[in-house]
């Protein structure tokens, strides 16, 4: 790599500073990215990565500091300006209009794209080329989180950017698709496009990036050439201490069957949803079962049915501890010992207009917070405080609105709230999505501890690394069907990746078709 020989950097930041009323988000940050360089920005939640990226993308204005673009000082006033310069950004949270189609959404960020048909054709071409298959005519509201992210990535790629900012882009892809995307990114870099890559997956950064800037508490705490570092040393720079590890040790007792799903069928609520077809599996007390799969393959429908938010007609299709619960609502199932962390944090897992402590009451009120119909605020506060302490939630006080927290901290709080209730059966969707590694380990450890105390845990995740790290058995969901279970020791990421494309015994895809699909990195539609 001869990056240092290139004289004019693509992007240079000097003394970037952004101060908010309560915190200094960024303090004198310097950074240099050469043309064709893939540069990682590493930092925990709240370290100030997103703030920095948004300043580069013109979303927020720096209080101090200078941006040099190809050696010229620029004042990036808004995202359209940034795009004109050749800066593209894939956001961690999505900026798509739900009531428009994929092509229409992409057209909004484009100038002269010809007709919508032309654009649709280009979307299909580029998406095939980069291994991110996508139907341009689909409405965004019907897409899962994973596919939405794909739309965001494509939107940037269509503009042939000179600098691409990617905020945790791989969290929703299969290992095969990740490899394909890395190939895409490397090709982009070879073509001279610089890439700013934000991720908490250290092995990915080691594999993909040339160099990394590490940010902690709004300041640059280190700069690393990835080839000279190890994942562990990067982690140490990022969190400022040794990385806590999970102890997986598992007691050998065989548990009782806690959750049983028996030939659960459910027609999707909307036309783009995935119908569940004869889904059967069990989760035993004292084990963690992982449900892998690319989002949009029926996870949402399954979770709505399991949580009781959308009860099913066949009451025996779901049993908890042998009791038929298919017809019960969420509260009644919680009475039987169910805890549930949904994928959507705000607006499902938490009420946006309420404080942390009130959001604790939301599901934990059974634990002595209501006496004779009256709320016990002292207990509610103590509970929320314990959540905040145990799960290192960064917040002012438990009386603050939950919306004042960052996404990762909300996730920590919600997961903590459910785990602290010591449920007999815990169902978690995407437990560590967007959560930094330090906190992710705390959440994983808490789930493992819960299992060791004899609870049954079902984890629905798209991150295979995570599933392989904490689970005892794995299931795969593809197109509304669930695979037979397999012990983690007896399988590999490659096999699970194949299963994710629908190729498993009794799966929706026959062998040949599966290989074909898998080579496209896709199993949706």
């Amino acid at each position: 790599m001869t990056l240092t020989n290139i004289n004019i950097p693509r992007l240079q930041l000097e003394g970037m500073t952004k101060i908010y009323p309560a915190v200094i988000a960024n303090e004198s940050i310097d950074m240099t990215i050469a043309p064709g360089e893939i540069h990682a920005v590493l930092g925990e939640n709240g370290a100030g990565k997103s703030t920095l990226m948004k300043m580069i993308y013109g979303v927020i204005k720096p209080d101090r500091g200078r941006i040099l673009w190809n050696g010229e000082p620029v004042d990036i006033t808004n995202p359209a300006h940034a795009r004109k310069l050749g800066i593209g950004m894939v956001f961690q949270h999505f900026s798509l209009f739900e009531t428009l189609s994929v092509a229409e959404n992409i057209s909004l960020a484009m100038e002269d794209y010809g007709s919508l048909d032309d654009l649709s054709r280009r979307i299909s071409e580029v998406s095939e080329e980069y291994g991110l298959p996508l139907d341009p005519g689909r409405m965004v509201h019907s897409l899962s989180v994973g596919i939405r992210q794909r739309v965001e990535i494509l939107r940037c790629l269509l503009q042939q950017p000179k600098l691409l900012i990617m905020d945790e882009p791989t969290s929703v892809l299969t290992p095969q698709a990740v490899r394909k995307m890395f190939a895409t990114l490397r090709r982009l870099a070879a073509e001279g496009c610089s890439i700013l890559y934000i991720s908490h997956k250290l092995d990915e950064i080691m594999e993909l990036c040339h160099s990394a800037t590490i940010i902690r508490g709004g300041k640059v705490t280190g700069y690393a050439v990835c080839a000279e570092e190890s994942a562990a040393s990067l982690a140490r720079m990022m969190i400022g201490r040794e990385l806590p590890t999970c102890s997986r040790k598992r007691p050998d007792v065989e548990g009782q069957e806690c959750l049983r799903v028996n030939r659960l069928c459910k027609i999707a609520a909307d036309q783009f949803g995935t119908s569940l077809e004869r889904v059967s599996f069990s989760v035993y007390s004292g084990e963690i079962v992982g449900l892998a799969g690319i989002s949009g393959n029926g996870q949402q429908e399954l979770l709505y049915a399991l949580s009781g938010e959308r009860p099913v007609a066949d009451r025996g299709a779901i049993t908890i501890d042998g009791e038929s619960v298919g017809h019960l609502n969420a509260a009644q199932r919680r009475e039987l010992g169910l805890g549930f962390v949904p994928e959507e944090r705000l607006g499902r897992g938490a009420v946006p207009g309420m404080s942390l402590s009130d959001n604790g009451i939301l599901t934990a009120h059974r634990h002595g917070m209501v006496r004779k119909g009256l709320l016990d605020f002292g207990r509610a506060k103590r509970f929320a405080q314990k959540c905040v302490t145990d799960f290192t939630v960064k917040c002012g006080s438990v009386d603050d609105l939950i919306t004042s927290l960052s996404g990762g901290n909300i996730q920590k709080f919600i997961t903590g709230r459910e785990i602290l209730q010591q449920p007999k059966l815990l169902i978690v969707s995407q437990p560590t999505w967007g959560v930094d590694i330090g906190a992710a380990n705390i959440i994983r450890q808490a789930m493992i501890d819960l299992r060791n105390n004899g609870s049954a845990v079902l984890v629905v995740s798209e991150e295979l690394d995570e599933l392989f790290e904490i689970c005892d058995r794995l299931l795969v969901i593809a197109r509304g069907r669930v695979s037979p279970s397999v012990k983690v020791e007896k399988t590999s990421k490659e096999e699970i990746g194949l299963w994710m494309s629908g190729m498993f015994p009794g799966g929706p895809v026959d062998t040949n078709k599966a290989r074909e699909l898998q080579s496209e990195g896709c199993c949706v539609d």
């Binding site: 969420a330 897992g349 919306t403």
Partner: protein, 368 residues
Amino acid sequence: MKSLFGLLIPLCAVLLALVMGAVMLFTLGADPLSGYATMFGAAFGSIEGFSETAVKSIPLLLVGVGICIAFRANVINIGGEGQMVMGALLATTVALLFPGVPSLVLIPMVLLAGAVGGAFWGAIAGALKAWFNVSEILSTIMLNIVAVQFMNFLLRGILIDPAEVARGTGIPQTMRLSPNADLPILIEGMRMHLGVVIALLVAVGAYMLLWRTSMGFRLRAVGYNPDAARYAGISVPKNVTAALAFSGAMAGIAGAILVFGSESHRMVTDGGSTGFTGSAGFNGIVVALLAGLHPIWSIPSALLFGGMLVGANALQRVAQVPSALIIALNGLIVVFVVSSEYFKKRYMESGRVDVESDAEETEEVKNG
């Protein structure tokens, strides 16, 4: 700091509305300052005036408190008028059926009947919304009309004073209701009666309900975010219905108090709802909005509007200004209060402390 600011904004809105009103007074040829002095002097300047103001404020406060509950659950209740009428009808019926019961029992009985009547009427709209997705704005307005016709039907029919029939005058009103149900006067020689105390208790009760009980928590959770409520196992349909039932119950009590606290101690109809309610079913919404949907702040808010009603008459007498000016003033306050919400939101957002929140930025990206 934040709560101080929250208090300042509605005060500014009221002041601005009064300034606009002053301009109107001026163009009508009256001296604005002495006009306002007359108005507020009549409403708050003496014990007698205050007593009148308090009595006028009762229905405003009760309906307003009900609106607070409904709006907190994200249900719009425009049916205060109908709910007042239905509450009054049921309370009147109870009083006619059990005239001999002693006051100590009869007064709670008629108030309870008022609450039940109003709650029933509100719950109809609530259930329609909850299970059939009928807009509660439309259904509550239409139920107002149904309630009024039902009142006319009953007061001309089975509830009519037999004396009216005998005389052949046929005025649609009940006979003088049992004196045992009369709301006791609080201060000798004035009109202020027990209804004032009841309204205050209800306001405090509504506050307790919303913020101290699990039931209120459920109502608010449903109002903030139905998806999160469903996630927690809170039934959205049940709570939507309950919110309108509570709201209706408060209006129903207001209706009952109008009957048993009236001078005539009868229920009378002039064919429409306003003649009976004095539009409190609608003005209660204004009271609640000015109070920021807070039951306790509804107390001063109701007193302000009640005072303006009392002051309007004085203004008309002294300054020869049409009392319709007060309606305009009410409207101005609403306009200013509602538009001040914008500034309140902006202030709240500028005070946010999150670093990584993307909500607004995402908006900008969309627009950019």
